[in-house]
Amino acid sequence: MSAGRKYEGSAVALTGVLGAIAVIATVLLLAPTVIVIVLSFTNGFSLKFPPPGYSLRWYASLPDAFQLQYAALNSLKVACASTLLAVVLGVGAAMAIARSEKAMARVLDSFFMSPLILPALAFGLASLIYFSRIGIQLSLWTLVIGHTVVGVPYVIRTTVAALSQLPPALLESSASLGASRAYTFRRVTLPLIAPGVAAGAFICFMSSFDNVPVSLFLRDASTDMLPIRMWQDLEGRLDVSIAAVSTLMVLVTLVLMVVMERLAGISKRIR
């Protein structure tokens, strides 16, 4: 009996300590977002928290913030194009390596995943030197290429996971019923792996939209990207309108996330 009580006491203590740390962690996770949202409604000129009063003045200033709008549009274009390219290239690669037991498939897998671990900044610099040496002018296209390299691992990871969960019996029965490989792919495989592909595409899109280390090197003087514009605005002067932009971004992300959770169960697929 006393052993049981001792166990109870230590279990309560352990749960208490871990629980307390978990609460701190959750507060840390949420605090920044909440604070930025509240701050964006300030009527003051500084980042004082809590704000002296509330207004929509910083949102009203956004339609005139041409630099931010221009940067946001560039970021959107690059994110869309690089996600599209990453999906087309990545799904093919995922199909090739997902169920293959060849040694080459493992090599390719590590090769395609390596942008995740290599410092992206080194890759950004390498690309800048590369493009300038082979005589390609920096433009939105060089940005698209750089972002695709960094984003494609996400698409491959979620697509490979979806493909390996696919019951082989489905493909075999489709083939034994006389369907061609292309037909089976279009009517059986693709619909079943679509949520996995969508989850990867979503993460790829977000990572491109938020990319700094590659954009820093591959943009030219006239192509401003949103995260870099915001960073420069913040370094120069702590501009409150950035809080309004941030809040809008959080809002759009939240909506996208809920939609993606419904469509693709994204929280289960990005681990």
């Binding site: 962690a25 996770l29 900044l121 040496r133 075999e172």
Partner: protein, 286 residues
Amino acid sequence: MTAAVLKGPPVTGYSLAFATPLAAFFVLFFLAPLLLLIVISFYATPELQSFGFDQYVKIATDGFTLPVLFDTLWLGLQTTLLCLLLGYALAWCYVRSPGSLQKLLMLAILMPLLTSVVVRTFAWVVILGRQGIVNSVLAEFGWIDAPLKLLYTRGGLIVTLANVQLPLMVLPLITALQKLDPNLEDASSALGASALRTFVKITLPLTLPGIVAGCLLTFAASITAFISQSLIGGGQMLFMPMYIYQQASSLQNWPFAAAISLVFLVAVMACVSVFNLLGRLSRAGA
């Protein structure tokens, strides 16, 4: 005819040829630039005229680059440890929570991952600043007379980075904890082990793959977190990413920038290998 069927790939698999477009793309735009980076680092001068080991000699002897490198790796390690402490507790509580709470917690965990890094770092400027939340709360209670310096300090930077990278740590840990057979913990306590002993002897070792995966991602992300390092660290603290950027952009010294990027890259790969090795060793020992 049978031979032809046998020779072709099984219907459940696809030919490796499907990877060709991406492989070509990677060779052209990933491998080639990195190889060129190596070549450039062996130029002796920024004008790219003669070859030599000058850049690497400079790194080894200038007494500045190596300290910046080690400081960056140390920052990554500190951030990873803080993340592990916070993340493990959160993941442990997550798998023990009822379903409805899990949904909310998952939203809290994913939200930062999908909010711009600039936005999250910006929030920490507000929290840590001289008129920031921490300072106003402390002053309100009369615990401090003058505002504490939190922004532009190492402590502030570590907390910020830990917050920014926390989701990368929590997600693999949740996966590892969910795979853990609850019977093992029950058996341990039924045999008389205390909860703490069960945690240290059963739960921690069995979730080691998740710990290693989380640490790898957190470490790799925090040492290259350019924005957080420059906004929270300020001008006084210099880490490798900003150093590389300054050398390449402001000074246009490509060979030196290339050389320090490569040294940084190799150091990161070495740390990653050590992490992996530690994981494998302790799994073998457990």
